[in-house]
Symmetry: C2
Subunit: 363 residues, 2 copies
Amino acid sequence: MRVNVPKKTLADVLSNVERIIPARSSNPGLSLLRIDLEDGGLVLSGSSLDIDVRAKVPADVSGEGSYAVVAHVFGMVVRSLPADDVELDLTENELQITSGSYTTKLQLVAPGSTAVVSFTDELPGEIDADQLAKALTSARYAAAVADFQAVFRGVKLELADDRFRAVATDGFRLAYYDLGLGTGLEGDVIVPARSVDELLRVLGDGPVRLSLDGGQMSVKHGDYSLNLKLMEGAFPDYERVIPANFPVSITLSASRLAEAVNRVSLMADKTANNRVDLFVKDGVATITAEGSYGRSQEELPVMQEGTDSEIAVAYNARFLVDALGPVGGDVRLMFSGASSSPSVVRDLGDDNYLAMVVPLRTS
Amino acid sequence: MRVNVPKKTLADVLSNVERIIPARSSNPGLSLLRIDLEDGGLVLSGSSLDIDVRAKVPADVSGEGSYAVVAHVFGMVVRSLPADDVELDLTENELQITSGSYTTKLQLVAPGSTAVVSFTDELPGEIDADQLAKALTSARYAAAVADFQAVFRGVKLELADDRFRAVATDGFRLAYYDLGLGTGLEGDVIVPARSVDELLRVLGDGPVRLSLDGGQMSVKHGDYSLNLKLMEGAFPDYERVIPANFPVSITLSASRLAEAVNRVSLMADKTANNRVDLFVKDGVATITAEGSYGRSQEELPVMQEGTDSEIAVAYNARFLVDALGPVGGDVRLMFSGASSSPSVVRDLGDDNYLAMVVPLRTS
């Protein structure tokens, strides 16, 4: 069996597929890439414990057949090829890769050794890739990294008529993004945040087809098919902790605020929650931090609502900066009164985004 | 005391000085930056165990005085400043840094706490910075990284009338570069390779003044003064191991050969010296590698001298690629006969460079 394919075409798709397949696994089958030869192209597929992936690579193919090779080795070789074109010659036991005057022979594995993956063609849901990406990136950062209850490491999707919300929280901060449109699907599901990252990497332009079935969300977009395993467990009832009343709020450039917080936090004690203090009074926000090396301060003019009050509140600097990330222009930072109750971040140019940050106790 | 200075001017010099000063040290004095205020500028100085550094920063200075601050904290703050200009206000105990609406106060330390460093103005030697940089970079890579006798981690400089040679070896490979000119200094010295790296970073255009005295090489170049502690011990008698006769040699593009070796070595077993095999016969060089994942091969047409012989030799791929690094155009790779005796690399466009690589035993 022989395949001729431009190096760039193969390398681009392979890198997205290879990243999902674990380079090392206690189950050696999991580190394999399956290669199926079809009329008009190659089909590459593989799986981690959380994601199945399949992608088509348009190519000049003679013959049919199924093969398996160690994914990261194949990827490493393809990336290094010297010429613009690649020839793959496949026998039962060996994959010969030729490009220019360079040749590599890799051992093949029986295709039955790979994880069994299947992809449905029944995908009743649909959403635009740009919109899906915007919603997922706006919420995903608020998911917990590790050492937390599993659902805190996921992104919840709330799907209904005229409703698509992505929401994540680690208990100290929360973010959601509403698309205000339906996908044709209904239900609440939790997708692991790391699976969301992989989905985001393959999203380009055009429609994304979706289905929910058998504990997974299936996605089809362009040449890619993905199955994302869903998380079990109850997502926290987050809406009840979002404050409704804000005696004081300030409006200013989100990037200006984020830069100032980053700068001031250089003096913050990293072992004490990376604390920065924010004082708001008379249309001026003063950000300060103090640690063993010294003290830093920056003042920013702001548009203040609730001018008869002043605000003193402390945050983990990173949580505040993360919450500002999705805001393109001006941000409204809203204070719910007592210094320990949550602050809310809204994008003045986009009502669909909301973030909440729980202040640090100031003792 | 007050200093006004453009942020970029201060940040550029500070980064070169700060990199030499250890961020952490069991001797807290070593992690300090000394700041002296002089007419027309700041003088920043500090020391590691191997290098003393001093640099002038032109600035608008009112007053005189000497201060000390934790170097990496000062560097971190200066890099993050928001505006183009910086004001430093120094009192006995505190350095206040102001830039735009941002202010930081850092604790100062008594200047007597810093390491005592002095820099000579008697520098009888002189060399052009470009030439010094070329010689040092061409030899430095061949020095050992660690776990070797100390002199193998140094670069030897051989200074005499009409002679400046930089040479380094780790016992498995060797590189030297001859400038064929005198500096006004005489003697053989060994400079730690890491100190050579720091010297290379501050070399720009123009003359470099040198002196050898009291176990150190002193360097003055532009606004920088450095003292590089010299290494003690006998450098190996390397010239006697460089072969004189080469029954076979090949000539080809150095970059083409390096790329092919890198590519082929992807299949090499990293735990077995990263071995690549080179076969030369009838004007074709064939590079192969074999490991647990498979086998790779690339053929390159070469200009071969000694065409009645064939050559089979094995190298650590990285050592061969490193040796080709300083060669801009075509390289001559010269084989000394038996497969275990060293190969020599010459730059066809620059007689001053020589590298030697000891082949792997092929048993």
